[in-house]
């Protein structure tokens, strides 16, 4: 559905307030610093990305799955559902909503097993992926409830393509799109998809791409946009901060420690 963003549940319910978001995370931020929290989400966004690529999903589906994941934990602590279960559940649900088709249960579980074993052993060591189809299906109901059935997510990719088309009337440069597209992908590792409308994220990604490519001559194009430049600057800063963080961060070394620190679900009390 390429309907009207302004009337969508995305706009009306899921553009969150920064302060509210921060407040709802207090439980988790008692155990993790803000940076550690971000690194944990960075890691699970990678899991979703790799799972999606293995399952040959389009980037749009992967992005939607990632947003589901972030929306769930925007309202709930990491301890409520093990993120290692929620991540594939988000992929499973998003692929149905985006009309990719249903991924067969067995294929999903097998893919999870291989991906965890082959690509994320630095985080999970010798542990196998512990969940089965029935876990995913149960989790899916909880996910849908917590999303309040808001399943259509608007992504920055479409507005990005439109902006680039418009830019092309002035400057012919295919690199701009390539860069900006990747920056949008990277933005999924931050909170911007919870805080800003997708078209603003698209403009911010374009902005960063133009700076990287030294496209001074596009300044007038940005100046003519009728958009809140303060918001664009906030998004740009968030994404640049991510890049700064990556420079000095070695996930392979740190992630096991971080995963050990996140609040875990508690089982039913023993009788």
């Amino acid at each position: 559905m390429a309907g009207n963003f302004w009337q969508s549940s995305h706009h009306q319910q899921w553009i969150l307030d920064k302060q509210d978001l921060f407040r709802d995370r207090q439980h988790d931020l008692a155990k993790l610093t803000e940076e550690e929290y971000q690194k944990v989400f960075n890691f699970f966004a990678s899991i979703i990305q790799v799972l999606g690529e293995q399952l040959k999903l389009r980037q749009q589906v992967i992005a939607t799955a990632t947003v589901y994941f972030k929306r769930f934990y925007a309202r709930n602590s990491l301890k409520c559902i093990d993120p290692l279960l929620l991540a594939p559940t988000c992929v499973f649900l998003a692929s149905k909503v985006e009309e990719f088709g249903v991924i067969s249960n067995s294929r999903l579980i097998t893919t999870c097993q291989t991906v965890i074993k082959n690509k994320f052993s630095y985080a999970y060591g010798q542990q196998e992926f512990p969940y089965r189809t029935n876990h995913i299906l149960e989790c899916e109901f909880y996910l849908l409830e917590n999303l309040d059935c808001c399943l259509i997510v608007y992504q920055p990719y479409r507005p990005l393509l439109l902006f680039v088309q418009d830019i092309h009337t002035q400057v012919q440069d295919d690199q701009i799109l390539t860069y900006a597209w990747r920056i949008v992908n990277d933005s999924l590792r931050t909170d911007v998809s919870l805080l800003y409308p997708p078209y603003q994220i698209a403009i911010s990604a374009l902005h960063i791409a133009c700076v990287m490519l030294g496209k001074e001559n596009l300044k007038p194009w940005f100046a003519e946009l009728n958009v809140d430049m303060d918001k664009i600057q906030e998004i740009v800063r968030t994404i640049i901060n991510l890049y700064e963080m990556w420079k000095s961060y070695d996930e392979k070394k740190e992630i096991q420690g971080l995963l050990g620190k996140i609040p875990k679900p508690c089982p039913a009390p023993q009788r």
């Binding site: 390429a2 549940s9 909503v97 088709g101 249903v102 512990p130 109901f141």
Partner: protein, 463 residues
Amino acid sequence: MADNFQNKTMASVMMDYEFKMKTQNERSKVEDLFDYEGCKVGRGTYGHVYKARRKDGSDTKDYALKQIEGTGLSMSACREIALLRELKHSNVINLIRVFLSHTDRKVWLLFDYAEHDLWHIIKFHRAAKANKKSVMVPKGMVKSLLYQILDGIHYLHSNWVLHRDLKPANILVMGEGPERGRVKIADMGFARLFNAPLKPLADLDPVVVTFWYRAPELLLGARHYTKAIDIWAIGCIFAELLTSEPIFHCRQEDIKTSNPYHHDQLDRIFNVMGFPQEKDWEDIRKMPEHATLVKDFKRSNYQNCSLSKYMDRHKIKPDSKAFSLLQRLLLMDPNRRITSEQAMQDPYFSEDPLPTQDVFAGCPIPYPKREFLTDDDQDDKSDSKARQNQQQQQPNTQQNQVQANNHDHAANNAKRMRMSGQNQGNNTGGGGQQEFHQQQQMMFGGQQQGSSNQQQGNFQQRF
């Protein structure tokens, strides 16, 4: 749910107990909030629909509760929830709420209740016609219906949602109440994939998908659903409203094949419309099944066929505004077919009588209310209410036969909502209903063309 074995080996708990309990306590169950047992009004490939009332009496409105077929979240359930959650238009069915039943993994959708639909309305008119009786409806009713259908579809299309399964049974009309006589488009074909438009609703779908409303390009193998395909279906519905006959009625067999090409249906279309001229539909040569078409059909067989002749036989004059709009909706070339927006601008709608918000224009509604269905496959849970229904219903054998044999007219079979005396007591138009009750019996009584063919028999009578 994480079983012990896994807990031991992985030391992982999938879900926090406290979180689970808290969500469980906050979750409302459909059976706690609504009364609906014994009140089934529809069943089909999509699942079961019940007429429901709130238990707490906070309002006395009727609701429609749809229990989606199967368990869990199929792709069609996901698409339906995802899209209906976003769509808001007075002529599109409004999803009020979703219930997820964790114990039996059933998904329930809550809607406003629509007392009527075009399948029943047209059937009522056919029955009256067969008995040489007239039904009193406002002059502009067909126009109002068509206008609201177009309005709803225009909204869907401008949101890039294609209906993909428009037919009379999916066009609902609100009964008495604040939205009296308002069209509600329902049951979008959410499950159809873009690249396999003709795949019947998975393999769980044993019932026939009706081909009568299917655009010629689909029958010739078009790979994608388009807005124009919805427009063709609206044209078919318009014609059917004007004449009470399905314009492209065709004998139907089990369509379990994935092949979209359907000889008899195309033959029927050409018999009404005439065989398309090259100049009228240039791209017909590019259709995947064009070679088959050339092989199977002879233009000369349809020399004397045209839409104007067909409609003229049904007393719709070729120089009327209704006819000229119909012709623009039913253009064979999908590229020339008009859009919903253009259709709404057609002079037909600015000519007297003007379309009204209440399609019944304040006049009494002549159509009976929906009757409750019995559960053929009822388990021991079946309550006395349901048994009562069974007793009140007309010869049950007939219903079972129709169901047992889904070779015929199964679109109707799927949507089979029986009408007649059930609700006479609380219907102001009770007298009229009584009459219809009899009419229906006569209608069926007059058809002895094979026990499983009662419904189709009605159509065959005229062709």
